[in-house]
């Protein structure tokens, strides 16, 4: 069962063009949106949430077109990168607003998060540090008990111990049903531990929507005793004086004997190096 469907999506803002974007999120899976700064991650998230109107294409949550009505929003918890509208309000005030929209709001989880993060309940949002603001936003987002969460760089400003706590919370949250997350992140650790699928975008264009191990197993990294001069047919990247080459796994058997004899070892590339190579 799919919970989010995106088809031939385009968004034009000034001279930036996002698209075409095509993907379907299966219920119970986590998708990480990966891309360099300015590649269109936040634009995509805002367009998905219908905060910014799409220019062309289709976006459906639970088989409902996002532009038709706002019903689907009650089952989607969204946290934007820049948190807007919270400024003068305290945690207690924000919670009572949010509870009107999400009556199933999990008070116990909220209290647990507030205690762990040691959040002040009666201090206005704008008086908190960036990290505390992000912790406050998460404490108001995760307990909404929706089937889908959409998070734009949710842990960028957060300290290491809190990151671990949040990771465990999200894993727990996912385990409580066929729940899904779409998140944009630059944190390699979050992507490795949480993501099932990667949506890789570069300059507004989607270059991959792929399951993590499918991507990793597509490539292999050769460590060579001598540099190879020529570029190999399916080569993705090379480093260390041309002695480390990432190429498609299928090409290794067809390599020239000279190169084959120079292979010291053949490794599975790391997700981080693959992403960097794909974004070059």
């Amino acid at each position: 069962m799919s919970c989010i469907k995106v088809k031939e999506l385009h968004k034009f803002i000034d001279d930036f063009h996002l698209g075409p974007i095509n993907f379907t999120v299966e219920a119970g899976t986590v998708t990480a949106i990966v891309g360099a700064n300015g590649s269109g991650k936040s634009t995509l998230i805002k367009t998905l949430m219908n905060v910014w109107k799409r220019t062309e294409g289709l976006i459906e949550f639970f088989d409902q077109d996002v532009t038709r009505s706002d019903d689907w929003k009650r089952n989607v918890a969204y946290q934007s990168q820049k948190i807007e509208g919270y400024d003068i309000y305290t945690l207690t005030e924000m919670k009572s607003f949010i509870k009107m929209w999400y009556p199933q709001f999990d008070e116990d989880l909220f209290e647990d998060m507030v205690n762990t993060f040691q959040l002040p309940k009666n201090k206005p949002f704008h008086k908190l540090s960036e990290g505390m603001q992000q912790k406050m936003a998460l404490s108001l987002t995760i307990p909404r008990q929706t089937d889908v969460m959409i998070l734009d760089e949710p842990t960028a400003a957060i300290d290491i111990p809190a990151k671990k706590y949040i990771m465990d919370l999200l894993v727990n949250w996912l385990d409580r049903g066929e729940r899904s997350i779409i998140f944009a992140s630059h944190e390699a650790d979050d992507i490795k531990k949480l993501a099932d699928y990667l949506l890789i975008i570069k300059d507004g264009k989607q270059i991959e929507y792929v399951e993590k191990e499918t991507l990793i197993e597509r490539y292999t990294k050769l460590i060579l005793s001598k540099p190879v001069a020529e570029k190999l047919a399916t080569e993705l990247d090379r480093s260390h004086d041309q002695r480390e080459v990432i190429l498609e796994a299928g090409e290794v058997k067809q390599l020239h004997q000279d190169i084959k004899e120079n292979i010291i070892s053949e490794l599975r590339p790391d997700l981080e190096e693959l992403i960097s190579a794909l974004l070059k």
């Binding site: 385990d175 993501a195 699928y197 191990e213």
Partner: protein, 131 residues
């Protein structure tokens, strides 16, 4: 519980298969008793840094092979396996380890006879130690 599974970086063996074989070996070796609750697919995926698609595939294969069972709403548990399966799985696990070691040794020395001699020397040394 956190499963002691380690994914090899230098192996061509698919990741789901590595998870499957190592779990089989842990069960057949008696390291995880029957009835033990295994981590959920999501938790194991986080621990091993793989997708739920990969973990689910390993769990499904293990379930088909009779090593584990999933009880709706309760979780996944290790099943009791018969002596024959236990013996075969241990044999297979041992064979895999030896094959991998020999494959790695071949990267340093392509002379099979030399490796064979070395293997026998190591075995007789170990025999002395273990007696």
């Amino acid at each position: 519980m956190k499963l002691p599974i380690q994914l090899a970086k230098d192996s061509r063996q698919p990741i789901y298969d590595q998870i499957e074989q190592q779990l089989k070996a842990l069960i057949a070796g008696g390291h995880i008793a029957s009835g033990t609750a295994l981590p959920s697919i999501r938790v194991l995926s986080k621990d091993l840094e793989v997708s739920v698609i990969t973990t689910r595939r390993a769990y499904q294969n293990l379930e088909l092979a009779g090593f584990i069972e999933t009880i709706q709403g309760k979780g996944t548990f290790v099943k009791a396996i018969d002596d024959k399966t236990q013996k075969e799985t241990r044999d297979q696990a041992m064979e895999n380890i030896l094959k991998e070691a020999i494959r790695q040794a071949l990267q340093y020395d392509s002379d099979l006879d030399h490796i064979k001699t070395k293997l026998l020397t190591i075995l007789s040394e170990l025999e002395g130690e273990l007696k």
